[in-house]
């Protein structure tokens, strides 16, 4: 394993994947890139981060966008490519980091230091978590989960050959409902340390 460590976390909505990514970043002392990635891009280019965030991890609308000679009218697609390029630049500079979503398991697959993880969960457990975190009723929580996962799947599958959530696409797929978030993090930490040996 190379000295560089890049942990990519794909996740189902409500599975706690983002919290797991935060905890792993803290345990390994790494930077965490999620939507804050656009803050960095905005700062670098003197842009308005809030404008960019409207298009963060949003799938391309196939009917209302067009491509001409490789140029896409989809702002979602162009912002996605800005993020992919940013991640590739960071990885090429030898940086170690944790990245949530953003097709990182595919975009950074050429780096030996990449460990790709997908976090899933049981529907009842995820629903309960979404209800608690967002203060929603069960029906609303399920609707929110389905909508987010549908969007993540469309977003991912547009840019990558491998399908979103398909275990063949990741080093490790883990159901966070089995061990709970904290013990899932423990397990992943030991797995990553094992990989680093």
């Amino acid at each position: 394993m190379s000295e560089q460590l890049i942990i990519s976390i794909g996740r189902e909505f409500g599975s706690g994947g983002h919290v797991i990514a935060e905890k792993l970043a803290a345990r390994f002392g790494l930077a965490l890139y999620d939507h804050n990635l656009l803050d960095e891009i905005a700062q670098e280019k003197e842009l308005d981060a809030e404008t960019l965030k409207k298009y963060d991890e949003v799938p391309r609308n196939m009917v209302f966008s067009r491509t001409v000679k490789g140029f896409s009218s989809s702002s979602e697609e162009n912002i996605a490519h800005m993020q992919f390029d940013f991640l590739k630049r960071k990885a090429a500079a030898g940086e170690s980091f944790v990245v949530v979503g953003r097709c990182a398991e595919t975009m950074l697959k050429d780096y030996n230091g990449l460990i790709s993880i997908f976090v899933l969960g049981d529907i009842p457990v995820k629903t309960a978590r979404v209800m608690e975190v967002y203060g929603l009723r069960e029906k609303e929580a399920r609707f929110k989960m389905e909508r987010h996962d549908r969007h993540r799947k469309m977003y991912h599958n547009y840019y990558c050959k491998g399908k979103w959530g398909d275990s063949r696409n990741y080093d490790l797929s883990i159901n966070s409902s089995r061990l709970g978030i904290e013990r899932t993090v423990d397990f992943l930490e030991s797995y990553i340390k094992e990989r680093q040996k």
Binding site: A42, F71, S75, M82
Partner: protein, 451 residues
Amino acid sequence: MLAQVLAVIIFVVMFLLIVTDKIERHIVSLGCGLLMILLVFGLSMHSMTAITETLNLHSFFTVDFWYQAGEASESSAGINWATIVFILGMMIMVEGMGKAGFFRWLCLEIAGLVKYKTIPVFITFMIMSAVLAMFIDSITVILFLAAVTLELAQILKCNPLPMIMAEIFCANLGGSATMCGDPPNIIIGTSLGYSFGDFISNTGVMAGISLIVVIVYFYLCFHKQLAASKGAQMAVTEYPDPKDAITDKRAFITSTVIFAIAVLLLVTHAQTGLTVAFIGTFIAVITLISQPKDAAELLKKVDYKTLLFFIGLFIVVGGLEQTGILAIVASFIGKISGSNAMLMVAIILWISAIASAFVDNIPFAATMIPIIQSLAATQGVDLSVLAWTLSMGTDIGGSATPIGASANVVGISVASKQGYPVSWGYYCKYAAPATILVVLICMLCIYARYF
């Protein structure tokens, strides 16, 4: 009957596949073209004549294809090879100009002439966009203009989107002024036998009037925003030098001369008798001869996919024509307009504009040409009036939405890649009223001049 049903199905499938953008459009049009030949011409019609007429390969070997001594005539149905050859030639010339640094040099030179002041840059770039697009494809114009606009906006500390949006609109408008400005015009001109002069004295006049209105419109929309930018209120001392844009001085001079020759040949082609196919071939050959070192690269960079898309498209439209579908559509338009020419113009203008705002205007224009030919023949309406109506409708309508024209897509893409995303709401808020305004101006111009 079976042939007609199959032709319509193939056409609709092609349109839907182009709109959904899942498969590259040249593959879609060629695939559908092949199906048209096999299923419609072959299996249903058993007509070898329909196949040869649609492939139209014999046109290359006619004198008229290269030189027309008298009045240009309407070409037969099928693949419009004159359009393909002309676009190919212009692509090679434009590639050579871009490589030599012509466009960047011109943009920086003009920005320098107006002392890099935000509002004057905004206005001059709109005019430059329209003028360049009269002779060069709007994609290339916007590609270079938007890149320089972004660069200047960074120096002038202003939002580049108002400028880029206005440039896109003016590029589409400029393209409508001439026969070679926009693909629908090239197809209309070569199919119906109109010259550069015919276009400039008809669509050119409408585009010129509209350009003045549009400049005022965009000025009113954006002047406060641009005047409030930091760059408008402070003296900026460091600007890029236009000379740095020139990558190869010799290539720059020769490509500029070739461009001037191309413009001269196009402007005078009705007098000289040289067809656009000849001009395209000639321009391509002298570009390649004058830049022998880069010839292979220039040829490699030609957008063959677009040319293949055109070929497939012409076959599919040829299928609709051969099976009589387009004559049925024409008779339907004739019926609903009650043979009222003014109503017919309004229908063609607004339907072309609305359709072009959402779907590619090239297949739309190619489909509409046989329809207006049929309308002119059966309803006694002047074909040229319908041609100018179709040209303005398809060229201008595309400006209304982010996906209406290729220049819009490229401009929006260049801007959002630099972190200036353009939403449908933002784009349509400014471009849709401008489009409606220009279409109205065109309608009034057509009514005032031809009726």
